[in-house]
């Protein structure tokens, strides 16, 4: 076993979470072979400091120098997945990582060393036990056995004795004392002041900044402890974020970008909104051009029975509900298409009928097999709840839609503009129409439950309508409509974040505001160009 301890030098160390400093401007040195307790009030940055020394957190400022790269780190028990299917022996053998890495096997000698370590912590014959069957005390002994096997000159312990029985604590304190005798450097985060006074020669008292550091008797004075308590009470939980040089650019960044960098759910919602915009911008444009704006709405209701069945089978899972919705939407599109082709009934009328039937059917299915709360989830949901599989699905649908649009763009335009011509050149309008309905359906289906009509789904209709005041060709209408839908998604999410509004209404209202501005001030056919500019010319 190695024995020589390693010194740790800290210079002006600041560590921040999301730019909120957890501890700042710490300077000092843990001497080689020292045994130091880190104490302080809750939230003082004790665990942050030990994680920074372990290399698990990167300093925001200053630096940490370790004499030796080999460390043995004991995390808090709460940070370990206790139900993980792994045996005691395998857990201890992980302590050999530096020697076996990710590819080498364990030699019999190493395996025997692990068994010896388990005996040293009083857990002989526990090798084959799954860790999930151990008590908190036994599990801590296993982790100490792993520390023994790591055989490092620097040992870092984060709350090693919290919630342990007296006997385990005594045994493990004995191990710590032995490491100290062997000359290793040991640093431990502790809460029990009596323990510190009895067993730790040195102490570092922390309250986000350094209060005192030195021999325990000098540090653990009533004055120092009172000072640490006072500093803790003065902490403002909403403290200003750490700024390294203030600038207007940083304020803009904080307001406009930070929410998306900081929170995964905001990022997923934003990308989902962009994906929705990319697909539904062009589709919404075609719907507006074909005077079928409300059809997207009808479609998003038509998918309800399938979504409901998906919900009953797969719970509140976007893929299950979307696949169900996809099937239901295709059936409705097919049936209403057949009715339109075979009878004089116009498409919108047949859709209206199928939409009502589907809506009622969906409500019936959810109500008889779920609850009103479930129904609300199926009907509305929130784009902020988009998870990883849902995001992949939404992006996948957007990609397929874009490629389908690229392939069939010309026939789609012709079918909307001059279907007779399309048929005259030998292209069947029925197939193109069916493709279009499928694309519309795909857009509606993915509104479940992430962005249904209460939640961004209608934003693309407002965007497509607004685009008519800015562009005058199909492609530019689609481009402007997509841009407006994406912008509405972004601004709506920001509004929802800062004003605590539901995301759906926030996104739709943003798109609505863009629509209102377009009606008033747009480049083409707006109130401004039709009335104000003309009056100006006449004057």
């Amino acid at each position: 076993m190695t024995a020589a301890g390693a010194a740790v030098t800290i210079e002006n160390l600041t560590v921040a979470y999301e730019r909120h400093p957890a501890l700042h401007h710490i300077t000092g040195r843990f001497a080689a072979g020292s045994l130091t307790a880190i104490v302080g009030p809750n939230g003082a940055g004790k665990s942050t400091l030990i994680k920074a020394i372990a290399g698990a957190l990167r300093p925001s400022g200053g630096r940490i120098e370790r004499d030796d790269a080999r460390i043995a780190y004991l995390p808090q028990q709460s940070e370990i997945e206790r139900s993980f299917p792994i045996t005691v022996l395998d857990t201890v053998l992980l302590g050999l990582w530096r020697r076996i890495g990710w590819r080498r096997g364990v030699t019999p000698e190493q395996s025997a060393a692990a068994t010896d370590a388990l005996h040293a912590v009083g857990l002989g014959h526990f090798e084959a036990r799954p860790i999930s069957t151990l008590s908190a005390g036994q599990f801590q002994r296993v982790l100490f056995a792993r520390l023994i096997l790591q055989d490092a000159p620097l040992i870092l312990l984060d709350e090693p004795f919290t919630a342990l029985d007296t006997r385990t604590t005594r045994d493990l304190l004995g191990l710590v004392a032995q490491w100290h005798r062997e000359g290793r450097t040991v640093i431990a985060v502790l809460h029990d002041f009596e323990q510190v006074r009895a067993h730790f020669p040195d102490t570092l008292l922390l309250a986000r900044e350094l209060v005192a550091w030195g021999p325990t008797a000098d540090v653990m004075t009533a004055d120092n402890l009172a000072a640490a308590r006072d500093m803790a009470e003065a902490w403002d939980e909403a403290a200003h974020p750490l700024r390294q040089g203030w600038s207007p650019g940083m304020i803009v960044y904080d307001w406009l970008v930070q929410p998306f960098v900081e929170f995964g759910f905001m990022r997923r919602a934003l990308v989902a909104a962009v994906a929705l915009g990319l697909g539904s911008g062009p589709i919404g444009t075609f719907l507006v051009l074909r005077r079928m704006s409300l059809m997207g709405d009808a479609m998003s209701h038509a998918v309800l029975p399938g979504a409901a069945i998906g919900f009953l089978l797969g719970g509140l899972s976007l893929p299950a509900m979307s696949l169900g919705g996809l099937a239901a939407g295709l059936i409705v599109a097919l049936l209403s298409g057949i009715v339109t082709r075979l009878t004089p009934l116009r498409e919108d009328a047949s859709f209206a009928a199928f939409y009502l039937i589907s809506l009622a059917l969906g409500v019936l299915i959810v109500s008889t097999h779920g609850s009103n709360v479930d129904l609300l989830h199926v009907l509305f949901g929130t784009i902020l709840a988009v998870d990883n599989p849902a995001l992949l699905l939404v992006a996948g649908i957007a990609t397929v839609t874009l490629i389908a649009l690229a392939l069939a763009y010309r026939p789609l335009v012709l079918e909307a503009f001059d279907p007779g011509f399309l048929r005259s050149v030998g292209v069947g309008g029925g197939g193109i129409h069916a493709l279009f309905l499928t694309l519309v359906r795909a857009q509606s289906g993915r509104r479940l439950p992430g962005a249904r009509h209460a939640d961004g789904g209608r934003a693309d209709d407002a965007a497509a309508a607004a685009a008519r005041f800015w562009a005058r060709e199909v492609w530019s209408l689609a481009a402007v409509s997509t841009a407006i839908a994406c912008l509405a998604g972004y601004l709506g999410l920001l509004g929802s974040y800062y004003l605590d509004w539901p995301s759906g209404p926030a996104i739709i209202l943003t798109a609505g505001a863009v629509y209102a501005l377009s009606v008033l001030f747009g480049r083409r056919d707006s109130i401004r160009t039709r009335y104000l500019v003309r009056r100006h010319l006449a004057a």
Binding site: G264, V271, L391, A398, T399, L402, I403, V413, W475
Partner: protein
Amino acid sequence: MGSDGIVLRVAHAGPSRKKLSPLVRGIGYRLGWAAGLSALLWLAVFWALS
């Protein structure tokens, strides 16, 4: 410019390519756009999943 001062337009017979809308441009152009936008979208997706 010719010797009589009349601008000769021979180099660009037919409509300028720039004025062609996606409606009349070929499938490669449109697929390029779709692929480009999709690629950007997937970059954003990987950013969101990171």
